[in-house]
């Protein structure tokens, strides 16, 4: 074509003609591509594309609308968190890990802290109240994370209303997070040895109200989507991955459970006392996007059940400690909100500044230098909203991690995109990727 298309300029390369599409008039692009007489078209989808679930780049080889090959380009959100943590104390590490998978901060923190506690040999010294709070926070987080998965997944397939409902529920959870930890996201609330501070007064009734509200609200989305003819057509039989494929690809979480295998680390390798809670592992046997959608919907109710049991336990454990008693590990303060809006502990300041020089030294050393963790390595896996989140921690005996590595479920599960989508239609890639629910902050770390 002789005229330059303002929306789709083209240039010649050794690989063939390259078109840059920025929106606008698709007819002229189709004409131009038709003029090249190429059967095989390679399309770059993303990294900035509204339906790729974050900065994910998909390189698609197409024949017509059929996808013959998919490759994922990741790394656009790489922030070097693992490397950064080698230069921070163990406690400071929580503020890094919480930013990896930004939709599941509590899971990141818990995996990291459980691994450190294993290295320290204090797993059984963590107070019960701290473990119960961790469980409650993780299940709240599972709800907020599944809500984003459902809402954005539906949005990417063209259903806008479910997203409004999903984000309404997520707001409820984020409000609770704010009440408990002071922050809505990236809380760094779970700390090695326990949690940062106890629940504020009046928290338990508020959480109970929120649970009741959410249980009522969840019906809105299930009414909209479960059994909806259009939704079924977009999701049933799409993104197929069976048990053999999931196993060899190391897939865990809802995608694995959609093959019918009830593998959930909360049941099979319990941590934080999950063995003391009554809940069901949800599975589906359809191996498709619809099955994964149903699993997430039904896991919401299970999370609510766990939260209610946790609240019952918390009522019995009122006033119990939320941090290990070992003062060489535990940060000392129970913070109170000061008039300047900052958290502070006046009693603690009074003690270290006014009564005991040793306390002051201790505080200074613990906060600036941190505690030592005996040399060795551990691997701790937990069931995050997306699958097995594993923390591989190596210590050389110092006050900083020698090496931190996170086995991120998003990173691993994203590998199944090709197996799920090759041979299918281009529109079904979106459904398949959405059903994996990758969070690019976690993929790239």
């Amino acid at each position: 074509m002789s005229t330059v298309d303002p929306y789709a300029p083209s240039r010649e390369t050794t690989e063939g003609t390259v078109f840059s599409v920025t929106g606008g008039d698709w007819d002229s692009l189709v004409q131009e591509i038709g003029a090249t007489k190429e059967e095989r078209v390679v399309v770059n989808m993303g990294p900035q594309h509204p339906s790729t679930h974050g900065v994910l780049r998909l390189v698609l080889e197409l024949e017509g609308e059929t996808v013959t090959e998919v490759r994922c380009g990741v790394g656009y959100l790489h922030t070097g968190i693992e490397k950064n943590m080698e230069y921070r104390s163990w406690t400071q590490g929580t503020t890094f890990v919480t930013r990896m998978d930004y939709l599941g901060p509590i899971f990141n923190e818990t995996a990291y802290c459980l691994a450190i506690e294993k290295l320290l040999g204090i797993t059984h010294d963590v107070p019960e109240r701290a473990s119960v709070i961790r469980v409650m926070m993780m299940e709240l987080n599972r709800i907020s994370s599944h809500m984003v998965a459902l809402g954005t997944g539906a949005l990417e397939l063209g259903a806008i209303t479910p997203m409004f409902f999903a984000f309404r529920e997520r707001e409820i959870v984020l409000d609770l997070f704010e009440m408990i930890s002071g922050l809505r996201m990236n809380m760094a609330y779970i700390r090695p040895g326990g949690v940062q501070q106890d629940l504020p007064t009046g928290a338990i009734p508020k959480i109970r109200d929120a649970v009741a509200q959410m249980r009522k609200n969840f019906k809105d989305n299930s009414t909209l989507l479960v059994g909806n003819a259009i939704w079924l057509k977009r999701t049933q039989g799409i993104g197929y991955l069976d048990l053999a494929g999931a196993t060899t690809l190391g897939i865990t979480g809802p995608v694995l459970r959609s093959t019918g295998l009830p593998w959930d680390l909360r049941k099979t390798q319990p941590y934080c006392g999950y063995e003391n809670y009554d809940f069901d592992v949800i599975t589906a046997d359809t191996c498709d996007v619809y099955g994964r959608f149903l699993i997430r919907m039904n896991e919401l109710e299970q999370s609510l059940r766990i939260i209610e049991q946790a609240l019952d336990k918390l009522e019995k454990l009122e006033g119990a400690p939320v941090m290990v008693l070992d003062k060489k590990i535990a940060w000392p303060a129970q913070l109170a909100l000061g008039s300047d809006g900052l958290g502070n502990s006046l009693n603690h300041i009074r003690q270290i500044m006014g009564t005991s020089m040793e306390s002051l030294i201790h505080h200074f050393k613990l906060v600036t230098e941190g505690f030592h963790v005996p040399a060795g390595q551990v691997y701790q896996g937990i069931e995050s909203a997306r699958g097995e989140l594993g923390a591989h921690v190596v210590s050389d005996g110092g006050t900083k991690p020698y090496r931190m590595h996170f086995r991120e479920p998003s990173f691993n599960n994203l590998q199944s995109t090709a197996a799920m989508s090759e041979g299918g239609m281009i529109a079904d890639i979106i459904a398949a990727v959405a059903s994996i629910d990758p969070v690019m902050g976690g993929v790239d770390r």
Binding site: F371, H392, R445
Partner: protein
């Protein structure tokens, strides 16, 4: 009190020498299911003593230190006979002072059938950092091996497409190695530099 040894230099910043002590071999009984597992592996794999350099049980976790050239053999036995269906990836560790074994690859394995975990460890020298790829055994190791190559420079022989995955393709160096220079260098990304504060873009 806080673990300072020797000179008692507690200044904290930079003055303390840190040496990495590796855990010694463990003797039987290993405890828990580890003895059963080791028995099964010895029965199923006649070359056990030649392939496994050390068995370490530490903090309730079992680590097998495998000779590099025997890794695929051991992995296949573990997958097919001992039912370790899943490999949870690979994590590199760099020990620059451990001469001849500077680079270590750690593979956490999971058996869902038996609900067991085990860890394989392979160490190679920095000058010849080649480890056989396990992608043929567990396809999911593909990206994990690319990441470990990207971050540590370990070359996984037989990998179907060993390219960088997180860093840009034209990046030089492997950032998570301990000898990778940090800090004090001008921030630069593909030729772009950070301008002086007075030349930065600002709202008018």
């Amino acid at each position: 009190m806080f673990g300072a040894h020797g000179t008692g230099d507690t200044s904290g910043y930079g003055g303390l020498l840190r040496t990495v002590a590796s855990a010694g071999s463990s003797e039987r009984p290993y405890g828990g299911y580890f003895d059963d597992l080791a028995d099964d592996l010895e029965r199923a794999y006649p070359g056990f003593s030649g392939a496994i350099e050390r068995v370490v049980v530490d903090r309730g976790e079992l680590t097998l230190h495998v000779k590099c050239e025997k890794l695929v053999e051991v992995a296949l036995i573990l997958r097919d006979v001992l039912k370790f269906e899943m490999c949870m990836g690979v994590s590199g560790v760099h020990y620059p002072d451990n001469l001849g074994r500077e680079l270590v690859a750690v593979y956490p394995l999971l058996s869902m059938s038996n609900n067991r975990r085990i860890r394989l460890e392979v160490s190679v020298s920095d000058s010849d950092a080649h480890i056989p790829s396990l992608v043929e055994v567990w396809a999911g190791n593909n990206w994990h091996e690319r990441e470990t190559f990207d971050m540590f420079g370990i070359i996984f022989d037989g990998h179907p497409g060993l390219t960088r995955i997180l860093m840009p393709d034209d990046w030089a160096g492997h950032p998570q190695r301990k000898d990778y220079a940090l800090g004090g260098v001008p921030i630069e990304y593909k030729g772009a530099t950070v301008p002086a504060p007075d030349n930065r873009r600002s709202y008018t």
